[in-house]
Symmetry: C2
Subunit: 146 residues, 2 copies
DNA sequence: AATCATGTAACAATACAAGTATCGTGAAAG
DNA sequence: CTTTCACGATACTTGTATTGTTACATGATT
């Protein structure tokens, strides 16, 4: 399967929106993401439904942030875009009749659950605001013009 | 993408082979896995190349274990079947020009790397022999006939 | 009324594991 | 030494998910 980049893309967009006055159009965002405006709308629809962004039609319309970035975590965004499967590996049958297969699946699923718990904890611990601040810090450290 | 079940399947097969005298044919294994003999040969080719199993042609031929199960970890098997990507999510561009995207990718990749390290450590810490023993223990605990 | 922008539906492209069919090759059995 | 068995290898097709694309409807602004 192709790798799901929706979380990455939405974080990218949100950080740009946080540093941008006024709404941004799907067309503009699509250029940033090097993709299609329809893909942008499709993906951001999830964020809108969750209340993290707002969209307006017509002249001067587009997308704008609609939530306190301190209160939204990376995990929230992951879930807002559909909370896709995290792992590309797993077991074939959920409830196998074979006892050997049961044992194998249990061992594997244990390990996967642990890794998933860690990842979820990491994503849940970082807010969009913190991510934006760490970006600012990186710019200062790198001598970036403000 | 469809979930990769090669590791799960190969562990299933190896545990059966450990409790089985003489070689097992691809046809027999395919029935266990509820799949096709060609899929079995294709997947087990990796294990053969790594020296974990051996295959023989002709009458009485088939697959047999060719290594000390105490010395082979679940991680070894994962790698032998191609060491596929573990995560289904990730970032789109490896080296983005956009500084914001760089920051986002770094934050995400950090979290993914940590989770991957945990998973790899877990898989690397369990040998096939240990997995087989834990299966035996489970059978005894469940009152399984030996 | 014209324009701009989102909303939605439908469909093609892409990627990759898995499934399938077929033939070749070598080893054992008769 | 011919048949049979089993792997080896190739060339597809299928299934499933994201992503890309086209087209058109809808609502808001000028």
């Amino acid at each position: 399967m192709r790798k799901d980049s929706r979380l990455s893309r939405m974080l990218h967009v949100l950080l740009h929106m946080a540093r941008h006055d006024g709404p941004m159009t799907s067309e503009h965002i699509a250029q940033m993401l090097q993709t299609n405006p329809v893909v942008v709308r499709r993906t951001m629809a999830g964020l809108r439904d969750a209340g993290y962004v707002r969209s307006e039609k017509g002249h001067g319309g587009g997308w704008a942030i609609a939530a306190d970035l301190d209160k939204v975590s990376l995990l929230d965004i992951h879930r807002a875009v559909g909370g896709p499967t995290l792992f590309a590996i797993g077991s074939e049958h959920a409830n196998p009749a074979c006892a050997v297969e049961q044992a194998v699946n249990e061992a594997l699923d244990d390990a996967l659950r642990e890794a998933e718990a860690l990842l979820v904890a990491r994503l849940g611990a970082v807010s969009l605001a913190e991510l934006a601040r760490s970006f600012d810090a990186r710019c200062v450290a790198g001598g970036w013009p403000h």
